[in-house]
């Protein structure tokens, strides 16, 4: 492959204005699929099912089968549309998008074309430094997902060079909402971060609505990023590329940045951008060209004759609107004030994707400081070590219980970390682990004093130093006592007692 030239990012921005557009697919977590009564693998309950076990005749596109709309999926789509500030269509209908692909059972996708369920919205997106952008939403429409291909032979499961492919239709028909932004102007050098923050906001909204598991690593949330550049002062939009397969928050930011640099290098040399689909490669941090837009994109949309229009009742839409949770940006502002976090502390929580966990931990009785400390500290460390999400390691209730045990003096920080490891290992609640492992702090001064006296007797030189006023020498005794107590003692209390006993020893 020819070496791709990239322009320096700052220089690219001097010459060109980046314009981005984002398409986000959200898999809904309904019990069943969009048009079929088969279990939905995007619901936690059915995640990871064996191949072709979650299929009905509809999912396989068997001759004679017919789609029927999942009413719950429509309600969740409407809620999402409302949360995106969209208008809900008075009447909405489905259309067939015709193209052949082996993961598409019917060789057409049931989607929405001219009458989407939701349109004309706006989402407030906050950058890391607290500045906010209004991202304009063109539409949000309902559609079905395709099956999954596994490429066999050739290198690393890639499609190129594969000898054959295997098809699993479990994912075929999973309900999707596709959210399409209008072109986003004015983000300038922040465009890559805005793209990431936007997808993160969509995730927060989906989670707060409870409509999706919203896990990018599982493909519950997928993003295609459109990028174009126009020379400073120009009116006309440049030719855009659509980068697909951008499936982590980090790669969204990197992919947009990469496309800006790549396109700028081409344009600065007088070259032209090809309107095409590009693929993001996480490993190399680059995009590569896919298929150019062509006649093959003639999808021959027409109204789906097997389905009838969806006409949401204004009463039901009003009910769903009334039930909407607070918008993420507004919620963040409120929580930051309520918790009295500094900018840095709050960003730590938000960037770690732990806002909901911290909030739930506080709701379960922990202090804001303790909740933040455990989630962004020890749990994040454990998550990084095992390459998973902190949120998946422990429940807010357990973290709150742990904080309460520390607060009550039952556990020291060090003991609490041990207990937390037990929680993560699934040994039970913090209290159960404390009981089972006998990890509670020894708060019986008698036992401590006995241990201290013994340690002091064993180290007469240290005792002498303490009595000479060299208080820091007490550390050696404290260490010995803590060791003797197997760590189950409050170090501060031990220190107090050591000084007391040293003074008393004659």
């Amino acid at each position: 492959m020819a070496r791709v030239e990239l322009m320096d990012y700052e220089q690219a921005l001097e010459l060109f204005e980046p314009v981005i557009g984002l398409e986000v697919h959200v898999e809904l977590n309904t019990e069943t699929k969009m048009f079929s009564p088969a279990p939905n693998p995007a619901n936690e309950k059915y995640h990871g099912a064996a191949p072709n076990t979650l299929v009905s005749p509809v999912c396989l596109g068997l001759p004679g089968s017919l789609p029927v709309v999942n009413g719950e999926a429509v309600e969740k789509s409407i809620s999402l549309g409302l949360a995106l500030g969209c208008s809900i269509a008075e009447s909405s209908r489905f259309a067939r998008k015709n193209y052949f692909y082996p993961d598409l059972a019917k060789n057409y996708q049931i989607s929405q074309y001219d009458e989407p369920i939701a349109f004309d919205g706006e989402v407030e997106v906050e950058l890391a430094d607290g500045r906010t952008f209004q991202v304009p939403i063109e539409r949000a429409h309902m559609e079905e997902d395709a099956g999954k291909l596994t490429h066999v032979g050739g290198a690393t499961g890639r499609i190129q060079g594969a000898e054959y492919s295997l098809v699993d239709y479990n994912r075929a028909g999973v309900p999707l909402v596709e959210i399409v932004t209008r072109p986003i102007f004015g983000a300038e050098g922040d465009a890559p971060e805005l793209a990431k923050a936007y997808v993160s906001t969509i995730r927060d909204i989906a989670i707060s609505l409870g409509i999706s598991e919203a896990r990018m690593e599982r493909g519950n949330l997928r993003c295609d990023a459109n990028v174009s550049l126009r020379p400073r002062g120009a009116e006309k939009l440049g030719t855009r590329t659509e980068t697909k397969n951008v499936n982590s928050f980090r790669s969204i930011e990197r992919a947009v940045r990469y496309e800006i640099q790549r396109q700028a290098a081409i344009l600065a040399k007088g070259g032209a951008i090809t309107q095409e689909t590009r693929h993001w490669h996480e490993d190399t941090g680059t995009t590569s060209p896919g298929r150019p837009k062509s006649d093959a994109d003639d999808y021959r949309y027409f109204p789906e004759p097997d389905l009838v229009p969806v006409v949401p009742s204004p009463e039901r839409v009003a009910e769903l609107r009334a039930a909407l949770p607070e918008p993420p940006a507004a919620r963040r502002r409120r929580l930051k004030a309520e918790w009295s976090f500094t900018d840095l502390e709050f960003q730590d929580v938000v960037n770690g994707g732990l806002l909901n966990e911290v909030a739930a931990t506080i709701a379960a009785g922990a202090s804001p400081a303790a909740a933040r400390k455990w989630w962004t500290g020890e749990l994040t460390r454990l998550a990084n070590a095992s390459e998973t999400d902190a949120a998946s390691l422990a429940s807010p209730e357990h973290v709150a219980e742990l904080a309460a045990l520390v607060e009550a003096g039952t556990l020291t920080d060090r003991l609490a970390r041990q207990v937390l490891e037990g929680v993560v290992a699934g040994e039970g609640s913090p209290q159960q682990i404390v009981d089972a492992r006998g990890l509670a702090v020894v708060s019986d001064d008698g036992a401590l004093i006995a241990a201290i006296d013994e340690a002091l007797a064993a180290q007469p030189d240290v005792l002498a130093k303490i009595r000479d006023g060299k208080v820091q020498a007490a550390g050696a005794v404290i260490g010995a006592v803590m060791k003797a107590m197997q760590g189950k003692a409050d170090a501060a209390r031990v220190r107090e007692l050591v000084l007391e006993r040293a003074a008393a020893a004659e």
Binding site: G61, R300, P305
Partner: protein, 513 residues
Amino acid sequence: MSHSDELIRLSAAELAGRLGRGEVSSVEATQAHLDRIAAVDGAVHAFLHVNAEGALRAAAEVDRARAAGESLGELAGVPIAIKDVLVTEGMPSTSGSKILEGWIPPYDATPVRKVREAGLVPLGKTNMDEFAMGSSTEHSAYGPTHNPWDLDRIPGGSGGGSAASVAAFEAPLALGSDTGGSIRQPAHVTGTVGVKPTYGAVSRYGSIALASSLDQIGPVTRTVLDAALLQDVIAGHDPHDSTSIAEPWPSMAEAVRRADVQGLRIGVVKELDTDGFQTGVRQRFHESLELLERNGAEIVEVEAPNFEHAIAAYYLILPAEASSNLAKFDSVRFGLRVTPQGGGTVEQVMAASREAGFGPEVKRRIILGTYALSAGYYDAYYGSAQKVRTLVQRDFDQAFAKVDVLATPTAPTTAFKLGEKLDDPLAMYLNDIATIPANLAGVPGISLPAGLAPEDGLPVGIQFLAPARQDARLYNVGGALERLLEAEWGGPLLAKAPDLSTHELTATEEGAL
């Protein structure tokens, strides 16, 4: 006449009566029909698949249930033939196409499930034009069906197999599907009864889709009462079909039993009463109307100016929907797979499989439909056709404001010779001129025998159309006319059909050559 020969000539209602009274067993009745199939289907070729074993097993089960005093449906124990467009568990379902040869579906179509639950006995699957595209059954990948009235002639299409099976006394009842006349036109040319119910009256779940907004499943029988009894079994709401009508239906059989045309206003569609129709077809049509008038009906001429555009709209909407519906035949999950020499990519395998698996008429319509939907042509073709659909509906609305039912000849000519129109698609398409408007508007239609054309001695049908959801009106007027005509003829029209045993030898000899 042997006992067995007598059994096969009974109407379904009569046979059901005898079964109910215990005068005959379902196994006997089923065996009689299987024997008949064995005797004449070599010549007629109505069936693509005969499931003798399964039929006898189902019949024995009904006999057992009856002996045990279990409550059974009115038609329990009566054999039925099923058009191959409907998927059937345990029986191959090909829709007349090579691309589905040997495919055994893992589920039953809803109408099939309903007939099984009502205790009817499926005999097998009937021949049809490939994917129901045609008016002659000549587009079947498995060879044409022959008209029992004249084996050199077409039995109509696409459901020629179902119509021929009842006309040849191979089954008292059959299921058909009607997208532009595929139930009614075969009824017309075979001297049988065929009904296309209101769109949505019978579930389409499990019917291999041709054109989703036009397809409707319906009864194919020898008498109007039998059609009504069968519609009562298969109609009704199905949650598997989003376009299925939710409201309950009145009994169609009741409408036949109480048939009375006194005061009934019948509209004759002026645009479909022209010299474009064969003389004998028009003659029998008008004689039927006069008979109804003499018995109290009022005959009124009505206009339907947009019907002349119906065929054009139909031949845009149907191919467009079909091009999409037939995309699923891609050699991945079911059906024929053809790999080009030396292997190929999945794209090439799909294209080669579809090239080998589809017949010329199917390819013609897929290409036509792909064109009608493609960018830049949608508005002019598919979009405009949808507007014509609105205009045809308005013609119906205006007509039904004046009359209770409409009457037309069912098709322009009697059965033509096999091969006669095979190379002229446009001429073939004109067969459906009188039947298509009902599909575009979703209204119900019936075709029943009106007599034999004097010039060729072949059957002629008369069609009645009613407003959507008023299927009972068709059974009323159809039941009344049938009674009046049979009184004039001194028996059913099919009594005049030739004895197939004389033809059987000829056909076999031809086959041997």
